[in-house]
Amino acid sequence: MSFTQQEPTVRSRWWLYGLLTAALAAVMAPFIWMVLGSFKSNAELRQAPPTWWPEEASFNNYIELFSRLNFGQFFFNSTAVAVVVTAGNLIFCSMVGYALAMLDFRGKNVLFALIMGTLMIPGVVTFVPLFVLVANAGLVNTLPGLMLPFLVAPFGVFLMRQFMIGLPKDLLDAARVDGAGELRIFFRVFLPLCGPALATLGILTFLGSWNNFLWPLVVAQTEDTYTLPVALALYSTGQNATQYGLLLAGATTVVLPVLLVFMVFQRRFIQGIATTGMK
């Protein structure tokens, strides 16, 4: 009973498009306001009620931000950390996720319970012990200090396990009959089927790492290890008054790479099972 999955042909439903468009407008409004706001002056941003279109649009906020920041360095740091962390999560979490979903081994339930348990512990409670650990290991003010603690996450394991549990188990048996080694089965047979799940995990992990603020702030001791969000917060938040223009320009800058990553990963949504031709 094997067949080729076809992209569904859908009648266009005008009412659904209408509904989705209305929803889209409501959903995107703050985002659009953020982008438009980054072209406004501080005075205009403090007006009540706020304006939608900039009265006098200008790039001043961006010019000020980039002339004051060593942008290249921060961008590099953020990218390096986010890419390594995302790669680590994609590889290591899918490995464990597969073991938990498909293989049978002693201690499996304990391991899964342990992972689920730590997923549920509020992060704030482990922050200080984690920092002391990283400081004692001499990793303060280094990029590895920013990456290592986030290289794997219980969230990723749970996500991959839940996805793989829905994959056909007979693929495993069939591959074993063909004499493939266990690791080979994972990398060659199952991993390619996980496109949508890996894309989702990639987007979420990249976003989380890219926006992480408190950890890089605390671990970085000099500006060479600052990441973008830390650097962007430097001049926008003050002791008493917030520079809204700089803040919105910074927020817009920091979000663009995330959208790019989203667009790259989301192509993989339509792959996975659908393209393997077997089911």
């Binding site: 501080n42 009540a48 200080v128 920092f131 002391v132 001791q221 430097l234 002791q239 008493n240």
Partner: protein
């Protein structure tokens, strides 16, 4: 190397769990420290120091530090700028892990906490504490010992719309409590304003509005080693504060972040805030707005004394520094009157050193002079390590007073009970 250290860290931690624990009696807290730290030697000023400073200060300090480097051969000052956002968390975690810098800019209300963590180095006696505004200097003193110096200061004044005040029949702001409230009411009735004044109705930071009123009424918030929130002086001030809400002069639930906009539009023609607001309202009000408003001192009750809140930032040297002489020499240099004037010109931060205010750059600005005058009597909250925690309960109770018509004395009794159960932390 790294992996060995990591292993060590892990074993040390395991020991922690296995050996159990117990508090060393008398070992906790700050032991009585001397009033001043050891003297520094000016001959040993050399080598590198790491300095942390927040936001714009961190950005502009390197230029200023260059002058210090020029004057001292062989000195390198490495400045790291830190965002204000979460700066406090960065400091406390760094203190915990022993990764502090040599010198840092420290918020005035953090001094008690950091000194309580045994993180700060007592200031040497060579720094003349009488050169600073008294209220500002007190923020650096914890349990009798100065752990730093004021770097720059700010204080709060009443901002009011002169044009609307005139319509209501006022050419200047009455300096007494009753007259002041009447003026706010008149601006609302005769001046066409929606509300007479914008006062923060409790909530985070509202103590900065309420406590100055208590201070003008002669209140002492803290004794030697205890909080005193339930005195009649404080209660009267809170009653006065509450009357603005119950009389309908101030809005008990104003929309967030609209104070400046309401001020320039004339909807709410008075508020109490610091010097940074000048730039903001003049920016928003457009050309000529500077002539439409003025600043006035915090009103004082009959028989009371002038006061306000003093804020700003201090400079402190961390105990873990391995270049103490250079660190303090740099701090001393930053508080010389000439350096302070240069710093004012660079950043608009108000000098903490009184004599710097005689310079033309400051003395020629009338509104600025008003801030300078208020600074002479402005006060700071007690530098107990638990201040931030205690004041949170104060802020919560003030919200009940402003919004839910809670009885001021009962509210203060609740604050006092909380304060006593928390303790001073010293």
């Amino acid at each position: 190397m790294r992996s060995t250290r990591m292993m060590l860290a892990l074993t040390a931690g395991t020991a922690l769990v296995l050996t159990g624990c117990g508090r060393d009696d008398g070992g906790s807290g700050t032991d009585a420290a001397p009033e001043t730290g050891e003297e520094i030697s000016t001959e040993d000023v050399a080598g590198e120091i790491d300095v942390w400073a927040m936001g714009a200060e961190g950005e502009k300090l390197p230029d200023l530090a260059e002058q210090f480097e020029d004057a001292h051969d062989g000195v390198t000052v490495n400045v790291t700028a830190i965002p204000w956002d979460s700066a406090h968390d960065k400091f406390t975690t760094s203190i915990t892990a022993g990764t502090t810098p040599d010198v840092a800019m420290v918020g005035t209300t953090w001094m008690g906490e950091f000194a309580g963590l045994d993180a700060l180095d007592p200031a040497p006696g060579s720094i003349d504490s009488s050169a600073f505004f008294e209220g500002a200097q007190e923020t650096a003193v914890v349990d009798g010992t100065a752990y730093g110096v004021p770097w720059y200061v700010e204080t709060r004044l009443v901002y009011y719309r002169t044009d609307i005040a005139e319509e209501a029949g006022y050419t200047e702001v009455p300096t007494d409590w009753e007259g002041f409230r009447q003026m706010a009411a008149d601006m609302q009735e005769k001046g066409g304003a929606e509300w007479g004044i914008s006062l923060q109705p409790g909530g985070v930071g509202s103590w900065q509005t309420v406590l100055p009123l208590a201070w003008t009424n002669g209140a002492e918030i803290a004794g030697e080693d205890a909080y005193q929130f339930d005195t009649p002086e404080v209660a009267e001030a809170v009653e006065y504060y509450q009357s603005f809400f119950t009389d309908g002069i101030a809005n008990p639930s104003p929309p967030e972040g609209q104070t400046e906009a309401d001020f320039t539009s004339g909807d709410v023609p008075m508020f109490i805030s610091g010097p940074w607001m000048r730039g903001i309202v003049e920016d928003m009000g457009g050309e000529g707005f500077a002539e439409q408003y003025d600043v006035a001192p915090i009103p004082v009750p009959e028989g009371g004394t002038s006061s306000s809140f003093v804020g700003g930032s201090n400079l402190a040297v961390f105990q873990q520094t391995d270049n103490r002489d250079t660190a303090w020499a740099f701090v001393e240099w930053l508080t010389e009157p000439e350096t302070q004037v240069t710093w004012f010109e660079e950043t608009a931060n108000l000098p903490s050193v009184q004599s710097a205010w005689e310079d033309d750059a400051l003395a020629s600005d009338e509104k600025l002079t008003a801030f300078g005058t208020q600074l002479e009597t402005a006060q700071a909250p007690p530098s107990f390590p638990t201040w931030e925690e205690v004041v949170t309960s104060f802020d919560t109770e003030m919200e009940k007073v402003a919004k839910a018509e809670a009885d001021p004395q009962e509210a203060l009794d609740a604050v006092q009970a909380q304060a006593e159960s928390i303790g001073t932390g010293q």
